[in-house]
Symmetry: C2
Subunit: 150 residues, 2 copies
């Protein structure tokens, strides 16, 4: 992160993966984005910069980065997955949503994180011990009816 080579290259090379132009570009794009983006979003940006990049590669790269734990994949129920760097300096870090069951609007909220942090860290600790699970992130969604729909 502050060393010589980009932080993520070690991770790829460590598992025998190669450092390629498409991969560099896709990670760069994720870096300069402060929100969760779809594969198509990434493809559009990537393609502007380097038109030879294909959508297939975007999918494959995002999947690989997810497997590596570098990227987190989200599913909000609207049919397309979203991706975000796990350690994004600009990232929202928390993923909390209010989802309207009727109009399907997804709202982010950022309030009440103090109570939540307390609950999450407690629960996370117990869960990782009990299930031998390394927990890196979480998502909380509340479902219901929004102001306009109820």
């Amino acid at each position: 992160m502050r060393g010589r080579g980009p932080w993520w290259q070690d991770r790829l090379q460590g598992m025998g993966a190669r450092i390629t132009a498409p991969r560099e570009l896709i990670i760069e794009i994720l870096h300069e984005t402060d929100d969760h983006v779809s594969a198509a979003d990434v493809y559009v940006r990537a393609h502007q910069i380097n038109p030879s990049i294909g959508l297939t590669t975007v999918y494959r790269t995002l999947d690989m980065l997810t497997q590596l734990g570098i990227v987190q994949k989200f599913d909000f129920g609207d049919g397309k997955a979203r991706y975000e760097l796990v350690n994004n300096p600009n990232g929202k870090k928390h993923h909390h949503h209010l989802i309207c069951l009727r109009c399907k609007t997804i709202m982010d909220y950022t309030e009440f994180l103090d109570e939540e942090l307390e609950f999450v860290s407690k629960t996370q600790g117990k869960l990782s011990k009990k299930y031998n699970f390394t927990i890196t992130d979480h998502a909380i969604s509340f479902y219901g009816l929004c102001e306009r729909c109820r």
Copy 2:
């Protein structure tokens, strides 16, 4: 629920929807299931009992029931949505998952619900007031690496 007619019929008729054989069957199937099922799961069961029912109708009915708040729709990120009756007597009631980022296994956990209940009801109250949102349910997911993958 203890009255004469099935509890859900009023809800449908109240919004001008008709009571039909496919709808009755689909709700009955959801009732006797204690887990979240995919549209295809419902279709298979329904089709065994009444082969004239089509997959399209299953999708349409599940969607309508979701809009009505009778059914809750979930997205676990494996490409197919799951559905469950909101007030299912056999239902798990809570939806808490531990999701492995590598092998994509989804585990349910049911521990530590006391702490959670406290947190959820507090947060839920504040959120519904602040956003004017009627909250009916929630889902919490922890992401990481499972025992075998880390």
